[in-house]
Amino acid sequence: MSEALVASQAPGTDSSVPGASGARQFWRRLRAQRAALVAAGVVALLVLIALAAPLLTAIEGQDPTTYHPSLVDSARGGVPVGPLGGIGGDHWLGVEPQTGRDLFARLVYGARVSLGVALAATLVQVLIGIVVGVAAGLGNRWVDQLLSRATDVIVAMPLMIMSLALLAIVPSSFPRPVLVALIIGLVAWGSIAKIVRAHTLTLKELDYVAAARLSGWGAWRVARRELLPALAAPVITYAALLVPTNITVEAALSFLGVGVKPPTPSWGQMLTAADIWYQAAPQYLLLPAGALFVTVLALTVLGDGVRTALDPRAASRLRIGTGRRREAKA
């Protein structure tokens, strides 16, 4: 993947379609990929569900934290009463074993945590990655050495272990979802910084950047006016692929009991609570697992689509926006 990224050219430098703006070209290329479109639809739906969680649960008439002791069979370990884990008009996806909490409500509120944390973490990663990458690419030998070695250290650090350690030492009064997002963001920005640095080094040699530098522009101005627009494509591409990774990391941290705290629902936390119930109440495990699977798959396919749409070589295989189709028609 990174090979393709390194080889890809920023849209601003892609002159094969004169007149078409980068954004319009991007949409045309993305639209041509059916899988990416479906994935985009699924992602949009998930985001909508997450945003509308209070509304949806209000329609159902439930909330994610209220206990319903009468809906579980206490003598049998608290297994939900009724078929399929207590699915019915009142509880669309049944109830949680032992507590009787509504599973639909927990699932849609869980989507807020999973998506929110993953997006926020990605934002942190992208910001740090760009700053470090551009600074290393534009800076002198010493700055580059220092930042590159720091990046190497970050890349070499095991994400899960670092996150576990950091989450354990921060006081529990700190808002948990924010903390989880920050930690994932602060621990896993290494690869995006490397990609940005590599691109910056290539761009630095291009005539228009060299011209800007020679005309006496400062590093900051060069970075802002000349480099950032050109870096947008690789960064967006990589960010799109970071989101699903971050979702799984959040789920894993919550699964290990250091993520968001109860009673806030998150998919990872639901998974950890459900793992003993896979035989007695399978839907309890399948719901968060399925939600996680669909979300990560959709985001990955979408990220792949974005990469294809931004990569002129891949786009040429699609024969969209490269001008070839028009040539063929002519």
Binding site: R76, G77, Q98, A168
Partner: protein, 572 residues
């Protein structure tokens, strides 16, 4: 118990599971016995009993074991001065003679205890067991390298506090006398009517001085019981026990010892153990576990299968899970706030979080609901089945919290269904109805344990539990409510910082009693009186359910251990 270390207590908690571990699947009620324990045949000698366990028997030195009543597997190899009665239910909570001829003869003020050994007792090599060996066994438990046992001997024996063990101090403890080979006399620094209970612990096992190999003794401890160790691999992960031919059933009324061989295999995942016991195939048909309970999800599955449900043993160990207050932290200094929370708890949802009504029973008393503890029913702040938020709100209003209250509840993050997030979240939901907003503070288990047992860091409100070192009110109430046991630096268990002269005096008075039934009654009354102060909110007593293989017979589950007694099990 003046200076119990956190470690020791943690081991105590572990010993609860060890003891539990020491027992296995069982059928508590006697009527269950008839159907499950081989209705068609009487238990016969012979065969191999397999024990499937999660935790290896890492400590197998009688000096280092922290057990209630001598443990389960250890009790097959180690005999003690007294032992627990191997009977179902309440009868099993009695202390009975083992190596001794009786449960001990106290002096008038219960500070001197005299025991006489039975005649003809022998070790696995045929040499006779003497009272000097019991003295030596106790003395070596004072050695730093063999620590791990309960703190009582150090606290009770005259000179015990400073004694370093026989390796450093050849002279031994003067407070243990052995006037002849069959007599042993203990001199205590204060009256302790419950000494016979203490004499069930493995520190009272005879250890022949000539065979003592120090820290290596646990690899092959010399047996005084019906089985001897023939294999001990990977630090107790695999143990094979075979008959000790020098053990005589005529001197041992308690251990039945039906199987010829006991094969202990540990290091298994708990779900694997329950899976193998439910499948009950091959050697697993004659298998039990001495440390793995059925969890809520497994219970849901087992209870749907009649044949499987008949192979579940149910038992009650003296144990209470509760909410603890630190009255030094606001607003818990106000009794009305503590009472309000007592009224507001929803025991039904707490019990569901603990695994449901089959795995936990509601508790309104601090003492376990068993006769031997002197159980005296009370419910000073009746919350009913699911809480009384109206009454709680009323009390909060009187306490000056008209617009509700915001508090923090500290719990452990371990997945134990006892002090874990599940229980805390259930309480959070219940207190919400009374206008109390609960913030949860989940701590990593070791951190949690350190914090709640330090007077300086103790949180205002936290989940706690306490298990019995023996089935009596003494080891349940004294460490928690005796004002003289408040420890400012170090491990403190009097978490409510109660220092009430009348309570302290009553504890001293009961310790003087040598009539254990009478003592039990007084403990029960004391519990009821302390309960009025609402320093704790008793939540539930756990119930142990364990599977056993389909060829396993003669299931006996006492209220002392709450789990199947491995010395009674037959596989033929």
């Amino acid at each position: 118990m003046r200076h119990p270390s956190v470690i020791a207590r943690r081991v105590a908690a572990a010993s609860v599971s060890l003891v539990v571990a020491a027992g296995a699947a069982a059928c508590g009620p006697k009527d269950n016995d008839a159907s499950s324990a081989g209705a068609d045949s009487k238990p016969q000698k012979g065969g191999t009993l397999t024990v499937l366990n999660a935790n290896p028997q890492e400590d197998f030195d009688p000096a280092r074991l922290y057990t209630s009543g001598g443990g389960n597997v250890p009790s097959l190899v180690f005999r003690t001065l007294t032992t627990r009665n191997r009977e179902n239910g309440a009868a099993g909570a009695q202390v009975v003679p083992d190596l001794a001829t009786d449960t001990g003869r106290p002096s008038k003020n219960a500070t001197v205890w005299t025991y006489t050994l039975k005649k003809g007792l022998k070790y696995e090599d045929g040499t006779p067991i003497t009272s000097a060996d019991i003295k030596y066994g106790i003395e070596r438990s004072f050695a730093a390298e063999l620590s791990g046992g309960a703190p009582y001997l150090r606290d009770w024996l005259i000179g015990g506090a400073d004694y370093q063990g026989p390796y450093k101090d050849k002279k031994g403890l003067d407070s243990i006398e052995t006037p002849d080979d069959l007599t042993i006399v203990f001199h205590l620094n204060k009256p302790e009517g419950e000494f016979p209970y203490l004499a069930t612990q493995t520190q009272f096992t005879p250890v022949p001085k000539a065979k003592d190999t120090g820290t290596k003794y646990e690899e092959h401890p010399v047996s005084s019981g019906p089985y001897k160790v023939v294999k001990n691999e990977n630090d107790g992960e695999r143990l094979v026990l075979e008959r000790n031919t020098h053990w005589s059933a005529s001197t041992d009324a308690e251990r039945k010892a039906y199987p010829d061989k006991i094969d202990v295999r540990s290091g298994l995942d708990s779900s694997v153990i329950n899976q193998r016991l439910s499948a009950s195939q091959g050697a697993d048909a004659a298998a039990v576990t001495t440390d793995t309970n059925l969890g809520p999800a497994e219970l849901a599955k087992v209870s749907g299968d009649k044949a499987l449900a008949a192979r579940v043993g149910t038992g009650h160990f003296g144990y209470t899970n509760y909410l603890a207050f630190n009255p030094k932290v606001k607003p818990f200094d106000n009794p009305k706030v503590r009472q309000a929370i007592s009224y507001a708890v929803d025991r039904t949802s707490v019990i569901n979080a603990a695994g449901g009504s089959s795995l936990a029973e509601p508790a309104t008393t601090y003492l376990p609901d068993q006769k031997s503890f002197g159980y005296t029913p009370y419910d000073h702040f009746p919350a009913g089945k699911s809480g009384n938020p109206a009454k709680a709100k009323e009390l909060l209003k009187e306490a000056g919290y008209k617009n509700g209250l915001s508090i923090t509840l500290t719990h452990s993050n371990s997945k134990d269904f006892e002090t874990s997030p599940e229980i805390a979240t259930a309480l959070q939901d219940a207190l919400k109805k009374a206008g109390i907003t609960v913030k949860l503070q989940g701590l990593e288990d070791n951190d949690y344990s350190d914090k709640i047992h330090s007077a300086k860091t103790e949180p205002g409100l936290f989940l706690a539990h306490w298990g019995a070192d023996w089935p009596s009110g003494g080891p349940f109430l004294a460490p928690i409510f005796d004002g003289r046991q408040i420890v400012k630096d170090g491990a403190n268990f009097n978490t409510g910082f109660l220092d009430d002269k009348s309570v302290n005096a009553e504890i001293d008075a009961i310790n003087k009693l040598t009539d254990l039934d009478q003592a039990a009654q007084r403990w029960g009354a004391l519990d009821k009186k302390i309960g009025e102060q609402a320093l704790t909110v008793p939540l539930f007593h756990p119930v142990y359910k364990r599977l056993y293989g389909k060829d396993v017979k003669n299931i006996v589950i006492s209220d002392w251990t709450g789990v199947l007694d491995i010395s009674q099990v037959a596989v033929k």
